[in-house]
Amino acid sequence: MEYFDTFVSILGSAIRLSIPLLFTALAGLFSERAGIFDIGLEGKMLASAFAAACAAYWTGNAWAGLGAGIMVAIIFSLLHGFASITNRGNQIVSGVALNFIAAGLTIVLGTAWFNQGGRTGQVPPEGRFSGIVLPGAEMMRDVPIIGPLYANVISGNNILTYIAFLMVPLSWWVLYRTRFGLRLRAVGENPGAVDTAGVSVVWLRYRALIVTGFLAGFAGTYLSIAQSAAFINNMSAGKGYIALAALIFAKWKPVPVMFACLLFGFLDAFANFMQGKSLPMIGEVPVQIFQALPYILTCILLAGFIGVARPPKAGGVAYTKER
């Protein structure tokens, strides 16, 4: 029973750690399926985390924080679009640049505004998204197996967590069951065909990037005002890249994205749990192995050793109308 309790607690923390990955990977899904590589997910997450913390601190309203987070992430997305769609610049370079701008600007502005070495002020409780206890969680707690799972894993999360899981079927529906989604996928594979059909490639790609910004805004908001109560320097700490890895690991498909994010979140939680503990028979396993595992797995996948990861065909190429 003791093992089971530990397992439940790791599972709970895995879910909490996978939410920012899930939002970000879904964000990347929309832009990459539309043919725009987005290395800048990390920067969007960081910038929106900062904006959300500032807005929540000043207004004391979590939803205002979310709004600010989404808005800033969309602005970053549009900048990416301006460079890579309108000016046909290199998408990777633009993403790298925006990551730097976000990393620097959050600290520069944060220090100037709050004078705490890059930290924002402590967000008051009403400015945060706190856990929601689902009905019956306390009653169920004593039921063996299902009880602790329901009380500690499914219940007690904040609203953004539930929104994240709702976004998975929603993304699937938008991508595979709407006209917008069909065209979005087409523009990532063969923009010429979409253009011939009389649909604007540019406008379609911009809309995809707006969706990307919208979802990335949730991820940043989750980091700063749901998971913690302030913005801290570089708090995304590479999560944007792990999300990118998860997106590739999931072969650019929404439902597998969820499982990939849960897997990477679980690895993260397990690494935290294993810190300083030793396994029977094997001895102490270095934490670094778990930290590196998402990246190693993604490389192995990319190499084509676990199925084939085929990126959208027109990804990374700016569309030029016939001259």
Binding site: G89, L98, I101, V108, C299, L302
Partner: protein
């Protein structure tokens, strides 16, 4: 008529447009400084004073520039072959392992000039080795090199932390770093070079690796524009299909280009590990690999341009440190913003001004 196909003279393409992009980047940086309530012109003044005002300031500026020349060359070589190596950061990090192993094993026995060539080889070999798997994956299995090199940056970071914490740490010490190299494992400072100009180097770690960097610039120029391999790389960069049609072996060229790129990135560690701190430390690369991207873009992947851009970023790094001292409201991270804006305007928006320039040029020349 579309302006994309109109040729422009080289002085506009390589002079005016990059310069205007740089001006734009600095204009927006100035806006940020202004937005936090400081005077941008004062800030610029402090920055330049801090980077070039004294002998030791120039020493620090050139020390940073040395690292950026290596990583800039690394990104540029891959770029000529049409590959975008974002992994210079990780390759430099692992390259440090090569340099440190050489320094640790030789510093007891021989003077620095015997250690140096082995250290150069060690750093380059380890850096190249770290670039090999992404290179092989790109060449053989078609995995995008951008993604794999990003992954390898993170893998390098965890690997090096593991090695420093568990293998190289000095028993009884808390800091995860190797022991300090003796004089035989250090690269001496270039105080005599500064003295030639009547400047005192002071505590600045400006060292022999600067000369190695300049030699590498020349070798890269030779490689890219004066050898068959360089020609093949450039052909591949312009058009992979044409290259394959012309009988240029794709797999071999991609792998060699990435190995050279990784080797150059690895050599950056000579400057930081053997020239400055005399020990291998966690996170010693400190973003130099990413600055290399900016430097290569600014310098248009040409060694001369790279030297100039590296010095510019050296000025930003050193001056930025001084600036944050003079204006406590502006943190050192302002240079990260400037760096991002430079990459954005000089890299991602490099074509933005082109149509306007074409129209200007056409009016001016009356065509």
């Amino acid at each position: 008529m579309s302006t994309a196909s109109v040729p422009l003279p080289a002085w506009i393409n390589y002079g005016v447009i990059p310069l205007l992009n740089l001006v734009l980047a600095f204009f927006f940086s100035g806006l940020v400084v202004w937005a936090i309530g400081e005077n941008p012109f004062d800030a610029l003044n402090f920055l330049i004073q801090g980077a070039l005002g004294r002998g030791d300031a120039i020493g620090f500026t050139l020390f940073y520039a040395t690292s950026f020349i290596f990583t800039g060359l690394a990104v540029a070589v891959a770029f000529h072959a049409g590959l975008f190596n974002i992994g210079a950061e990780g390759q430099a990090y692992v390259g440090g392992l090569g340099a440190a192993l050489v320094a640790l094993s030789l510093d007891h026995y021989v003077p620095w000039y015997v250690t140096m060539p082995f250290a150069v080889i060690g750093a380059a070999l380890f850096g190249a080795a770290w670039a090999f798997i992404p290179a092989w994956l790109q060449a053989k299995r078609g995995s995008h090199v951008v993604i794999t090199t990003i992954m390898f940056n993170f893998i390098a970071a965890t690997l090096m932390v593991y090695l420093l914490v568990n293998v190289f740490i000095v028993p009884g010490k808390m800091a995860p770093e190797t022991r300090t190299f003796l004089a035989g494992g250090q690269l001496p400072k270039l105080d005599w070079l500064m003295a030639l100009f009547g400047l005192k180097l002071g505590p600045a770690p400006f060292n022999v690796s600067f000369i190695i960097a300049l030699v590498m610039c020349y070798l890269v120029w030779l490689l890219i524009w004066r050898t068959k391999l360089g020609y093949e790389m450039r052909t591949l960069g312009v058009s992979p299909t044409a290259a394959v049609y012309a009988g240029i072996p794709y797999v071999r060229t991609v792998i060699i280009a990435m190995l050279i790129s990784g080797g150059l990135a690895g050599m950056m560690s000579l400057n930081a590990v053997m020239g400055a701190s005399a020990r291998l430390q966690v996170e010693f690369v400190a973003g130099a690999g990413f600055v290399g991207i900016a430097v290569s873009l600014m310098g248009r992947s040409h060694p001369v341009g790279i030297i100039l851009a590296a010095i510019l970023f050296g000025i930003l790094y050193q001056g930025g440190a001084d600036l944050s001292f003079e204006m406590p409201n502006i943190t050192r991270d302002m240079i990260v913003v400037i760096q991002g804006l430079v990459i954005f305007f000089a890299g991602a928006l490099e074509y933005m001004l082109r149509p306007a320039m074409v129209r200007l040029y056409q009016t001016a020349t009356g065509k």
